[in-house]
């Protein structure tokens, strides 16, 4: 198992008021993301536990892309990874902040 952690200073606070959201499942090629609104509005943290070791650079790039595209301030995202590909990771991260935003269109 490999543990990775990335913290970013971000511009935009994640929308909505929900404190907690969970999406995905730990299965082959999939992952779960637990989103918790625990941080100051200008911070985002992504904490990763993965069975696929040695992909730190790819994770770093996917997380950097995510905080660039999505309003994620104030959120800690905790990931249990079952060997998901980068595109799946990007979709799950987006889905997690979307779930945290709630039912907004």
């Amino acid at each position: 198992m490999e543990h990775l952690n990335y913290r970013h200073i971000v511009q935009r606070r994640a929308a909505g008021t929900s404190k907690l959201a969970i999406v995905g499942v730990v299965a082959s090629g999939n992952l779960e993301v637990l989103a918790e609104r625990l941080l100051p509005d200008n911070e985002c943290e992504v904490d990763i536990n993965t069975a696929a070791e040695g992909f730190g650079e790819v994770w770093q790039a996917v997380v950097a892309d995510f905080v660039e595209r999505r309003a994620s301030g104030g959120v800690r995202l905790s990931i249990n990874d079952g060997g998901a590909r980068p595109d799946m990771v990007a979709l799950r991260l987006a889905q997690a902040v979307r779930a945290l935003e709630g039912e907004q269109a």
Partner: protein, 312 residues
């Protein structure tokens, strides 16, 4: 027992009305009255498996078991749901302890029914001893809850089916609802083939698997008490119907169940295939059963007397 994470947001199940396709959390949300679910030991508490890291395997925050309280038709129920996609919905130490605790709470309260949404291949091999113990504890807790007057209803229609220790626990429940996609057994198809040879059971023959362990067959021989449509609404209706009539658990119930099973063995023990069993039930075109639509099958079931019994 603390109620927490009541504001947990999940991905919406609206695009996935099929029970088989839905996640455990989507099933819980779709089964209960809207917004009524209150989870115990939710994912934010990170009560994960202490064993998986020894095998370099990733954990899941809820260990594949979701337990809590909610309402069905306005009445309070306890609910447990297995996530069949995480390690095949297998029973590990934490996974099992969450269900045991829920059943014991139901026993102590004596007035809140329990719904168990099975989706499991059985014991988690990486924590086999703890998992086997969990199965035994859960079976005892189911019986103790039923003796205290608590209905324990099993709902089966997930990807992993209901196998191994899950099949044993299902056999202890007050009543079961199953969909066509649901499968109930102890040894799974691959296990039987591995141990007894392909002549005994060809696990790649999907039609054989479904007509031997599938929901329609289980319903026809009285192994399940209700046939559910494969949808969130279908299982909600089935759970409501089963909760409306749960006979008390007494010694007479067990005697009647033993008698029912003996008669079943006597009546069907010589049959080579499920189709022979269906024919001896008086079904004129047994080969048409697997292709039958939900409504037609439900109508057929209603006309058979073997599926009605007061045992369990």
């Amino acid at each position: 027992m603390s109620a927490s994470n009541s504001h947990l947001q999940v991905d919406s199940g609206l695009l996935s009305p099929s029970w088989y396709e839905a996640s455990a959390r989507q099933r819980v949300d779709g089964l209960l009255d809207a917004g009524s679910f209150d989870e115990f030991i939710g994912p934010a508490e990170r009560e994960t498996s202490p064993h998986l890291s020894l095998f370099n395997l990733p954990q899941q925050f809820d260990d594949g078991m979701i337990v809590g309280r909610g309402r069905l038709d306005g009445k309070t129920v306890f609910i447990a749901a297995q996530e069949g996609r995480f390690m095949g919905g297998s029973f590990g130490e934490v996974h099992g302890a969450k269900l045991t605790g829920l059943l014991r709470a139901a026993r102590d309260l004596g007035s809140v029914p329990v719904l168990v949404l099975f989706d499991t291949g059985g014991v988690r091999l990486q924590e086999a001893n703890a998992g086997e113990l969990a199965i035994a504890e859960i079976m005892r807790a189911v019986i103790e809850a039923r003796l205290a007057g608590v209905p324990v209803i099993g709902l089966i229609g997930g990807r992993a089916g209901c196998y191994g220790g899950g099949g044993l626990i299902a056999g202890c429940c007050s009543a079961l609802a199953v969909s066509e996609q649901g499968r109930i057994s102890v040894s799974g198809p691959e296990v039987i083939e591995t141990n007894r040879g392909v002549e005994e059971f060809d696990s790649k023959d999907r039609a054989l698997v479904w007509r031997t362990m599938g929901g329609k067959h289980r319903r026809l021989i009285g192994g399940a008490d209700r046939f559910a449509d494969d949808s969130l609404a279908g299982f909600r209706a089935a759970a409501s119907a089963l909760l409306a009539h749960v006979p008390p658990m007494q010694v007479e119930t067990l005697v009647a169940e033993q008698r029912r099973l003996e008669q079943r063995l006597q009546q069907f023990g010589g049959s080579e295939d499920a189709i022979d069993i269906w024919r001896s039930l008086g079904i004129s075109e047994p080969a048409s059963i697997p292709g039958m639509a939900y409504d037609d099958f439900a109508e057929l079931v209603a006309s058979l007397k073997e599926v009605r019994h007061d045992a369990r």
